[in-house]
Every structure is written in C-alpha cells, then in structure tokens.
Symmetry: C2
Subunit: 705 residues, 2 copies
Amino acid sequence: MAKAVVGKVAGAGAVPDLRASPNSYRYFDKVNRLVSNEVKVVFTPSGRRGNFPRGTPLLHAARVLGVDIDSVCGGRGLCGRCQILCTEGSFPKHQVVSEVSHLSPFTETERRYNQRKKPLAIGRRLSCHTLLEGDVVIDVPADSQVHRQVVRKDAEHRDIKLDPATRLYYVEVEEADMHNPKGDLQRLLEALQRDWQLLNITCDTHILTQLQAVLREGKWSVTVAIYMQGKITAIWPGFKDQALGVAVDVGSTTVAAHLCDLRTGDVLATASMMNPQIRFGEDLMSRVSYVMMHPQGVVEMTAAIRESINQLIAEASAQINSTPADVLELVLVANPIMHHLFLGISPLELGGAPFALATDSSLDLSAAELELSLHPGARVYVLPCIAGHVGADTAGVILSEEPQVASEMTLLVDVGTNAEIVLGNNQRLMACSSPTGPAFEGAQISCGQRAAAGAIERVEINPETLEPRFKVIGCELWSDAPDFSDKTEAVGITGICGSGIIDVVAEMFLAGIITVDGVIDGDLMEKTPRVISNDRTWSYRLHSGITDIVITQNDVRQIQLAKAALYAGVKLLMDKMGIISIDRIRLAGAFGSHIDVKHAMVLGLIPDCDLAKVSSAGNAAGTGARIALLNAASRTNIETIVRGIEKIETAVEEKFQQYFVEAMAFPNKTDEFPHLFEVVARPISRIISGSAGDSGKSRRRRRRI
Amino acid sequence: MAKAVVGKVAGAGAVPDLRASPNSYRYFDKVNRLVSNEVKVVFTPSGRRGNFPRGTPLLHAARVLGVDIDSVCGGRGLCGRCQILCTEGSFPKHQVVSEVSHLSPFTETERRYNQRKKPLAIGRRLSCHTLLEGDVVIDVPADSQVHRQVVRKDAEHRDIKLDPATRLYYVEVEEADMHNPKGDLQRLLEALQRDWQLLNITCDTHILTQLQAVLREGKWSVTVAIYMQGKITAIWPGFKDQALGVAVDVGSTTVAAHLCDLRTGDVLATASMMNPQIRFGEDLMSRVSYVMMHPQGVVEMTAAIRESINQLIAEASAQINSTPADVLELVLVANPIMHHLFLGISPLELGGAPFALATDSSLDLSAAELELSLHPGARVYVLPCIAGHVGADTAGVILSEEPQVASEMTLLVDVGTNAEIVLGNNQRLMACSSPTGPAFEGAQISCGQRAAAGAIERVEINPETLEPRFKVIGCELWSDAPDFSDKTEAVGITGICGSGIIDVVAEMFLAGIITVDGVIDGDLMEKTPRVISNDRTWSYRLHSGITDIVITQNDVRQIQLAKAALYAGVKLLMDKMGIISIDRIRLAGAFGSHIDVKHAMVLGLIPDCDLAKVSSAGNAAGTGARIALLNAASRTNIETIVRGIEKIETAVEEKFQQYFVEAMAFPNKTDEFPHLFEVVARPISRIISGSAGDSGKSRRRRRRI
C-alpha cells in the first residue's frame, strides 16, 4: 500500500480529480491515516487540506499547506495573531467529523495569553499551541489572516489587500558564545532565516549601533521590522506587535497625514493643515517665481514642507498616545512641484517649457535623509510622477480609482490650479494636464474665497423671477429660510467659493441671465434689479449685506477660461483615444467632492455623460497613498501602469487651441450634450450679435438652444 | 561560398583548430574578405582577432572582440584612454601585413586632443577615431587597458588587477522635449544604457537635487560616477576624468590614509597621524574602560576617529591640489575596537567574554551617514572582521599576503597589544588572537618607549665581555663609533623601543646573562659591573647617561609573558592544523617591520622556521585596504575567505595554558628550534635551581642547552 505523503497540499486549485473513483480514494485515504496514525485537517475559507501525524501543531499544518495565517512571534504564543476556531459537525464532502475534542487541551501558554493580553473570544485557540489529535475543520477568521482585506467604505471600490512593505518578526537569537565566534548581527540573521525563512537580509547602520544593547536588554529575544523582506529598519527588545505607517498627501493648499496600523490597515488618526508654502505664494506658479527670485528659496520651501509633515505626524501620533518614532513608513503623493520641493529639488524647470521633471520614477528613500523625524530607520516611498504637470498625486488617484481594470471608458479629473486629466480603460490609459488657473478655487473671482465658513457654496436661481437662494458653509439652511439671517450671523456671508461659483454661473445660464457666449444680458436690468450695470458690462447681484456678493462679467469670463481649458484637455484625450463619448466620470479632490456635477456639466466643464455615472472620487490621491502604504505589491503595480500611460502635452497639441475656443461657449459651441439635456431643460438663451459691450444697439432674439 | 561572420571572435582561448587544413582556411579567409570588403585586425597582447568591414572604428572592433580597452568618453575623442599603436610588419602567422597606412588618417579630433590635453606619443592614435582601412596588428599598451596591473614594488606579491568599484562614464543625454515627456533622470539612464549597456542604475537623492542644473550647465553632456555598476554616486557637467579613492588603516596608535587615483591605481598622496583616541587611553582596553566610565564616551570617540580621518584626507588631497570632495570612495581596515568605534558602535562587548562583535560582515555604507566630509555621494567599504579580537585589519593582511593561494604553510603574525595570528595555506585557514599585552610596544618596560627619535632600536652584546653596543633611532652609527656621542646629542638616548627590547633580551640570553627560564644571573656581578643588584633580583645596565637605560628582571618577565602568549596562540593553531613545522612566516605591522627576526626566534616569539623564509610584510593591512579599493572583486574574495576561516578562541582552549607555560622559557621548554640552531650558536646557559629570588643559595652549573 502506498504511503500517504504527509502534509501534501490538496487545497483549492490543486484538488486531484477523484470524481471517477471517489470511493476507492476515500477508502485508501482512511486506511492510510489509520495505519500511519495521521489525522486530517481542512482549513476554511481557503479549502486547503491535508493529512498530518497526530500531534502536529495546527500552525505548522497551516504553514505546510500554505494557508494564509498570521504570526509575529513565530509560534511562541505571544502575539495572538494565529487564532483559529474549530468548526464542529459532520462534513461528508471531506469525510471529516470535526469536534473541538479533536484538538489538544487548552494550554498554559494560552491561559497566560488570555490573562496578559486580550482574552480569547469563545472557541478561539492559538493555533501555534494547539495540536491535531483527530480530524477537524478549522476556520481562520479574517483577523488572523496576513493578507486580510482592508474594507473601503466606498461601495465603488475593491477592498485593499493588506500586505505592507514593513512587517514585524519576533525571534529568539542564539546567545553569543566564545566557542562559536561570530557577530551578533550574524546570529540575528541566522534566527531570521531559521524561524522565518528570510534570506539575504541587510541592515541600517543605526541598527548596528544599538544591536548589542537591544539583544541583551531583551535577553536575546527581539522584534525586528523588515522592509520589503530585505532590510532590517528597526529593532526592539522582546516582543512588539504594533507597526505604524503614514500616508501623506501634499496638496498645493492642504497637507494631510493619515496614520495607519500596518497590521490591520486601520486609519488610527488623521491630521491636516494648510500647506505652509502658501506664504511663498498662493498658487504653484507663484511659488516657482519665489524660487527664481530667492536663491535660498528651494532650501526654505523644502524645510517648510518637511517641517509641516513632521508636525502633522507628531499631531496624529499624539492622538493615539504614540510618537513619531513609532512610525516606520511614510508614503507620499504630491503634485510635481510639491514633489520636487519635498525632495529638495528646485521646481524651476517645471515652471517653463519643456516642463522637465528631475525624475518620473517612484522613489524609495530613508526618512532620515529627508529630515523627517520618524523612526531612525523609517522608509519613505514616493509614488511615480506621470509628466511635468501630472504628478504622484495623479498616480495616487489612478491607484485608488483603478481605471485600468474595467472595460468602461473612465475619465478621472482632479481640478486645482492645473487640472490633471486621465482617460482610459483596461486597454489604454492617457493623461494630460490643462492650465485651468485658480478660478475654480475662488481666486481671480471678484467675490471669490476659499471654501471656509461664510462662503456661499450652493446657489439656485428661479428662471422666472431671476431671484436666487443660496447656502453658506457653516449653516444648513437655504437663504430663503426664515431663520437664515439669525443662523448665519456668526459666520457671516463673506464670499463665494468654488462650488458656489459653478452653481451660480450655471444657474445664471439656465435662467437666461447669461448667453451661450457667456455675456450677462444687460436687457434684464428692465426685469430685475439684480442685474446691474458696470460701465460697458453687467453684473448679477447675488446678495446684499455687509459684503455685497456680485457676479461680474469678468467673473464669468474667468470661469469660461478655466472650464474651456479643462474641457479642451479632455477633448484632446478623447480625440487621441478615438472616442466621442465617455462611460463614467470621477471627480477627484476637494473641488470634485463639493461641486454639483449637473451644474458642472451644464457649464461644459466636463463632457456629456450619463449623470448617474458622474461622481466624486473624494480624496482619491490620499487614498492611493494609503493603498501604497498597506499593499507593497500596489507599488510595482502603479509603477508599471504609469510607465504604460500615454502622456499628452497639451501645450504642443495644435488642436488644443481650437478645442479651447469652442469650449468657451456654454456648454460648448460644437459638442452636443444629449445625456445632459435629457434631464435638464435647455436654457432660454439670448443670442446677442456684436460684442458684449455693444449690446445697446444689437438685435436680440430668444430661442432655446 | 559561406559568408564570413563579421567580427566573430577568434582570439585566445577560442581559436578554431585549423591545423588540419590551414591553407584551405586561409584561402577562404582571404577570398571572403576581398568579396565582402573586409579587413583583418589582430590585437596584441590579447591575441584576439577578427574581420570587419572596411571603415570600422578600431574601438568598435576591439569592443566586439572583447579586447580590454579603456574609454570614459564613449568614443568621443575626449578622454584619450583608448590609445593604441599600430605594429608594422609582416605577420605570416596571421597572414597579415600590417602598415600604419592601413589606418585612416589622423583626424581633426585627434589633433584637438593633442593640443588641449596631453600630446599623443609618437605612433599613438585614439582608437575611437581611427578607422580600419586594411589589415593591421594593433597593440593596446598597458595604460590603455581597463584592467591594467598595478605593480607592487614588493617582489613577493602579485600585482593588483585594476578594477575599481567606482568608475566614470561620460554621456551625451537627449535634451528635454515636450513631445516626449519624461524625467531628466530617465533620459540620463537611457543614455547610460545606450552608450554603456548599464542597466538598472539607481541614484542617490543628492544626485536628484542637482541633476537638472548639472545637465543644463553641461549642455546635456555629463560625467557620472557609478558605484558597483549599480548606483550613480556623483555627477559633473561635461567631461571629467579623474576619480579619487582613499585607503584608510586605523591602528590603535596610528591612523594612515593613502589617496589613490582610481584610474591608474597610483598612490597620489599619503598622510598619517597619531590615533586621537590615545587621549582616551594608550591601549585598546583602556579605551573600552573609558566607554564604561563615560556614558558619552562612544559618541566622543567616534567623533574623534572620524574627525581624524577627515583631517588626513584633507591633508592628503591638499598635497595634490585637490579637495576631499573629489574623493568618491573610502576603504577602511581597523582592529575590532577601532572598527566599532568608527561605526559608532560601543566596543563594550569586545571588552569582556564572550567578546561578541556587533557584526563580522563587510559593510557598504555612505560616507555621509558616517559624517565623513568626502564627496556627498562617496561610498565607504569596511572589510569584514574575523572574530572578536581579529579584525578587519587582519582581513586586510590576508588580502595582501594571500596565504590561501599557495600550498606552503604560512604563518601571518600582526603584533600589537593583541597579536593576530593567521595560519594556513590553500587547503585551510585558521585565525586566533593572543593577548600579548603592550610590552612589545615598549609599554610596561621600565625604560620602554615608543619607536621615536632617541629610542634604542638595535642591541648587540659581546658574549665574552658582556659589553653591549646599540643604535638609536635618528642616528646611523653604532654606539661604539667614535662620533656616536656627538651625533646623538640632539636626539638624546631616551629609552628602548620594541625592536630594541627584543634585541637586548635575545642578546642577553645568547650571552648567558639570562637563563632559559628568564632569570638574570646575579653571579655575573662578579664578571661585569653592568649586572647590578636590585633587592632580590638583578638588572643589566645597557647605557648610562642623562637617562640610565636598564633592563630589569621585571622587563624580562614582561617580554616572557608577551612572547609566551604569542607563541601559545601559534602553537594552538599548529595543533588544530595538525602540523609541527611552518614553511613561511610573515610579520605584519610596524613592529614586524623593525624587529630582527633571528632575535625574535631566539626568544621563541615565533616558531622555528628557515630564517630565510621569515620576513616583514610591511603595512600589510593598509595594502589590503588599497587592494580592496582598487579591485572590487577582491571584496567578494576576502568576504568568502573570511567566512571560511576557522576561528579559534584561545580563551576557551584548554591547551593554551600549557603551551603558554612551556613558552615562558627561551626559546621554549619543549619545542626544538632546529632551523634556528643551525645558524645560531646555542647560548651558554646557567640552569638555576630554586626560584629566581633564591639565587644566593642555589647550585649552579653551566651547560650548552
């Protein structure tokens, strides 16, 4: 009789086809096991199963079968990560009757774990200290899996598979011995190879300087953090089971840090602040100008951005009673200029053609060399840039949004001073940027302001009366609610922010106050006192108060210029892609989160699309940074994707200018918006012949466009 | 007719066997070449040859054939490293009639090189700008070979094959272009791949911060230094052709730096100084004590040693009008304690059993993290340590002395406060250290002093009269020369150094002043006033002057203890090796350079051996550092050798004590010294029964031992 192979893998994907002779196989299997004193174990949910000698530790059986089960302490009953549950019952499919009594009794080690650490839930065992005494079906709960899923709240996205670049390993190291002279490091490396099969491990110098003291303090038991299964980046005496990482998103305006538990993937704390570089210039180009004017500008600005990151991490770690020295990894996304400044690279070349990046690769650096006050061995991963104006932040958006996995043609737009535009699907990806300017952020708008308390963020205009109502940030009520004045007294009504300006211009257009060409119709002065004359143009008074909020002809022009630039960029990519419609639009970033997508489409800021398929992607860049932090494989993934992206430089594309001019009209001079006008009534528009300033003498007619 | 393969390699080691039909082959070859318009080129000294189309550049032909020929500029006529000579004449063996006229005429580029750089020697051409126009035999002179030999003056050693870890590459990079957006780094890497077939090159952050400015300053032509064919460590605009490296030897007493040209292997400058750690303690153990007593001791001592290295490199580079910023690589050897302190590791564990090293591996570090003021991208290579008391300096000695290549059994001894001992041949290598103490350095000797002006370094004693004569450092005369007093007046006669103490004790023994047991014979007071009584022992007065130089009984005891420790270590290794005689002894270090080997053997400091086979290895540790600097492969080599060495810890070997006791006698209580006593008369010895202090009552007899 053939002897069964002990622990042979017969799990999912490797199940022998026994349908032809199930009974004979089962018979042999049973006899085999009786003769060889073996028992059968089936692991769920993986379905992996095998036979093992009676008395085999469950964790060992799981390892042999390749079952995904966690352990930091290497089976010493310290970490509690290898918990399992025995599923009782009869499983005819596996020919197994599983009972809790088929496992060895609860051990002293488990009792100790129960007391000192978190109590084990009912039925839970430490698989490292549980022996197989009979046939069992063992469930590995999600929290015991190494590669568990980090659940994303957003239903649109796949969960993140947890597989961090930095992992902890507990080892008991052979004591130094004169009879066998070798270095303490070599003894540690031997233990890592013996217990964890880790080979060719190197270490930082700072590990060397503390190694001997730590080994002795921990009585030759230590926990090490290993980066990318290759380099020891941290060491602690004894057992340690929490490793922290931080995902950082450096925007032009805001810097945010999300402190994560690398073991669970949970965001433990978040901190954000205004980008300190605002003192060197509100927008990116003025920061580049600062560098041009000040020889020390790069040094100052690099120090400022690094300092702000240090401050955020100090804040976030204080929230969980930890310190920055516990942070072992940082992943960063940023636009190209912030990316360069963070690295200490002058952004000068990015300020003018040919907009050359110093590097477009991802970067794997030490936190120490970047003057970040994390753990001395902490690593920094910076996502790759795509092109001179399309940065690591856009790579983060792609990592989060995954346009490359579906067949539907997806448009990703991240609007800031520049709009970064990505278009594609699982066949092809393209990217470009377009110089929208800061109008969408409320700058260059007469009453514009940042999105802060007191800013008008929503506007509706009655097309009959031309009377508006609006909401301000900091108050839930519409302006026509009775309590509105009382409720807004504290915050005031101070200006209009990005989403408010989109709303008001779109509503003005829908109400016929502005024409398809973007001219405020002075004739309406006759109909409403809200249209007022300024020299040769007209304005619309949205609100009268301590501050009058007025939309001027120039404000409309600024929005036209910004949205035309964005649309022309999108159009260019569609052209290159050879498509005339888009299946799905995702708007990333703060602006994308707050604008009304219907109004955006009414203005022709984004191309026509089924409105149900247009949505906000939230802080997709930051999410991308978190994915790269929690899943090492995603780094290689995004690096490969970025290399494959076709980069389009709008500045050298002949058609850009034409598309830009066509896109000045609302929503567009040439493109139909069939999906939009299925759900939105076409505005009553006044076509005005002659120039805007010449309206007095012009012939007017009203028509539905 | 078969078409000849263009440029097919048919050089040394790959010559087809044509002896059977030489004429037919030659006929075909000639016809082939006529038909295909090809010419033949033979390179000497490699013997590689092949056929190429008329007009092929010589450098290209050499590359195709794998001829070792240098180039930094990649064939642009800038570096002048690819110079060749055409050998004129008829070479029937190759069927070639070689003429200078078979090469294309002297070009404008060569004329420019001639004017701007060094003039080309007569007949020399730049092979990158010389085309093949007919059959030629081309000689590649040694200075045009990449892997040229660095000649070692010492006839005992093989030359060093030049193959540095850091090499320079000149490239012309594609200009940044909006139509093809990519990072400047990526463009540089593409150029390195295109021109130099270098793949997977990474770069330091400091390269990124200056890359864009350097590329533009050099008008897109740059020279980069690449470390281990993997990492860009330096970048300069335009063409640069000198790379410097430094070999550093940190001894307990002295620190020395040898500044080398990585291209030629020449030592350009040398600087040395007292080890600044002497202020923390004269010997290694007192420096360890300093660390024990002072919590900040490690930091202070690390800073001191790094600062002294910085100072030496500044001095050495100033000698050649260069700066430390030109130094791209540093290789360091040191004993374990200095090794640890250099790295910032506490030497505490090395101060007591089990003498655990933090690491015994070689180290590849950045100079910046070690606070060395070299080029910001400079690399540091530290040779591996062998055991707790056998350091990277001994690895350097092995690299220089190569005991592993010959079949003769070689003993390498490096004497300091500890003696490092290596024994072996091409079959097996062993190492240990033995605690000789500082007696050999003149410490713990009543009139001992360091080897400096005024120290007695040579002594002879007339066995009949028992009168000595001696020499002092700083004067060429023996003390019995008439002018001696005048000539030594300036330096004085201040003490006795290591080689002097070996000489005087050996001569006292040979003259019968001390017995085989090391007792100064008080009876000789009757014969000479130089033997004087001190309480219960006697001394020998070597010199009377401002300072009396006297050898006391305790001085002899110190030498006995030191030499017994050394000999016991050697004996232990011989035992382990299973041998009773040694073929060859090499004494490394300053002490080894100065002692009289015959006297050392008379004392039984080293085992019996053919005296012609005992010699000084000079500063072998420093030479080892230089080899590792100039030949990257030697690093892997010494790492492998060190792993294979059997490390013996004398402290745990039972027999050590016995061998030590036996070795207290001169030359040894049990071991015969047959080779020695073939050339040296056995001393007249007085065996004294009873203790040394009991001589008055003891019975004495004289015999030849």
